[in-house]
């Protein structure tokens, strides 16, 4: 099978996918994650200082992706694991990211639930394993079961 993965894009994203490397705007101090070409806050500066986010945050909102709704690259995961949770996570440093939620014991997440970054296999493409961040939900006892 011919590869259609863009090697430059793959390589460039490694610091953010593996280590949550963000860019702090040298103009206004806003933390951009994923790193941007121009600061998303001040829209003036293109100068950034790399910073690693600590991987802790809270569930801002979430949804459940059923087997039929999953993109094809997640088919193998769904076959083994069933429907899965995807959330918007608000990180402690401010940025919000969309990511899969790793939910111990398959209990439903809740809004405001603390999470921490984990590295997992996201999917395989052209035989290449794509590793990247997901967020594991913590502190399940405090949940009120609110739907996202």
């Amino acid at each position: 099978m011919g590869a259609h993965i863009s090697i430059p894009l793959y390589q460039r994203a490694i610091p953010q996918r593996y280590r949550l490397e963000a860019g702090r705007c040298r103009g206004c101090g806003h933390i951009n994650f994923p790193p941007k070409g121009v600061c998303a806050a001040c829209r003036k500066s293109a100068e950034f200082e790399p910073v690693s986010l600590n991987g802790r945050g809270r569930v801002h909102t979430f949804t459940r992706v059923s087997a039929m709704g999953a993109p094809p690259e997640f088919l193998q995961y769904v076959e083994r694991r069933g429907p899965y949770w995807v959330g918007i996570v608000e990180l402690e440093e401010g940025p919000r990211v969309v990511a899969q939620l790793v939910v111990p014991d398959d209990r439903q997440p809740y809004i405001g639930q603390p999470v921490r970054m984990v590295l997992r296999r996201l999917y395989e493409e052209d035989g290449v394993i794509r590793y990247g961040y997901k967020f594991e939900t913590l502190d399940h006892h405090a949940g009120d079961g609110t739907e996202g």
Partner: protein, 348 residues
């Protein structure tokens, strides 16, 4: 003297009990394994190894002190590839770090630790004697699979171990050794088979293990002199039920043989097993304790290592084995088979 500085483990939360196998297959062939840990569908040896290493070295500044990484696994995500380099990138190790992949042998976790200790003492490796501030990281991780229903498959568990080695530390090495011979036996995997296999003649396996390990025990006894009876010896056997008998055949006193507590609780984790058993002892060892660990693959090659504990070894709270042995969610056999991909849809 080169020493172990710290250690951390990652054991996945899922468990399947021996009883679930009995319900599904009518029997369980784990040889003393009560339950086993099972990785999630998106975990592999690299992600589990990262989790163990992250717990051991949570601070980026500490990771910059690592000058070499030894990664051991018989289940690397790529048969040919660079798992250790991926792990180094995930951890943010410095760019001049030396990385080594030790694969294909289920004793390679302990072999990696021996090499790291030799590296730290300047006996091998390109870097020469370690600076006082340098560390060497050893990661062993394993998520083995075999044909569903085969006896071999029953005992296989999933986990990762990470150890930090320095030129000095609270658990210095006092002896290490190896033993090698060609032997028909043990576990093997050929590409055309696609699944682990085993020469299953247990009486020969016992004989092979004994013949292989005897020279190591003799060397260990010589290195320890009169103190030998006080050395706690761990035989990292993939079948915990066989440890006592093997130890007796090797002439060890009953009270110096340590049971394979970790393997009994989470299954045979191959390359990671010996390091996990060692960590469990180090978590509670009093200063003055002498401990030896032996790991081998079939009857064909073995490694041995002995340490003297002089102070507390760094074990982060979330990386302690004692808090992870029992695990979380229990799997039914059907759920386990699905998680392992045994029940995946075909013909798509």
């Amino acid at each position: 003297m080169a020493a172990i500085v710290g250690c951390a483990a990652y054991i996945p939360r899922w468990r399947i009990s021996a009883q679930e196998y009995v319900t599904a297959w009518g029997t369980f062939s784990g040889g003393g394994v009560r339950a086993k840990a099972v990785a999630d569908a998106d975990e592999d040896a690299v992600t589990m190894g990262w989790e163990a290493a992250r717990r051991l070295l949570p601070e980026a500044a500490d990771r910059r002190r690592v000058r070499a990484l030894y990664f051991a696994s018989t289940t690397p995500p790529y048969r040919v590839g660079t798992s250790a380099a991926t792990l180094a990138a995930m951890l943010g190790l410095r760019e001049d770090v030396s990385v080594y992949d030790l694969t294909t042998s289920r004793r390679s976790g302990l072999a990696a630790l021996r090499l790291a200790l030799q590296d730290a003492s300047g006996r091998t490796g390109a870097g020469g004697p370690a600076e006082a501030d340098d560390w060497i990281l050893v990661v062993a991780a394993e998520n083995p699979a075999a044909a569903p229903g085969s006896d071999l498959e029953h005992g296989l568990g999933h986990a990762a171990a990470a150890l930090l080695v320095g030129s000095r530390g609270p658990a210095p090495v006092i002896w290490d050794g190896g033993s090698t011979r060609e032997y028909l036996g043990g576990i093997f995997l050929r590409d055309e088979d696609g699944s682990l296999q085993q020469q299953a003649v247990s009486s020969y396996t016992d004989h092979g293990d004994e013949t292989l390990l005897r020279p190591l025990i003799t060397a260990l006894r010589g290195a320890c002199g009169d103190g030998f009876p006080r050395v706690a010896v761990m035989l990292a056997h993939r079948e915990p039920a066989r440890v006592a008998r093997l130890g007796a055949r090797l002439g060890l006193a009953e009270e110096q043989i340590r049971p394979c507590t970790v393997t009994a609780a989470i299954g045979d984790t191959g390359a990671a097993a010996a390091l996990l058993e060692l960590q469990l002892v180090l978590e509670t060892a009093a200063p003055g304790t002498h401990v030896a660990v032996l790991a081998w693959h079939g009857g064909a090659a073995a490694d041995g290592l002995a340490l003297r504990v002089t102070g507390p070894v760094l074990v982060p709270q979330d990386g302690a084995i004692s808090g992870q042995l029992e695990g979380g969610a229990q799997l039914t056999y059907v759920r386990y088979a699905r998680l392992q991909g045994y029940l995946a849809a075909r013909g798509r």
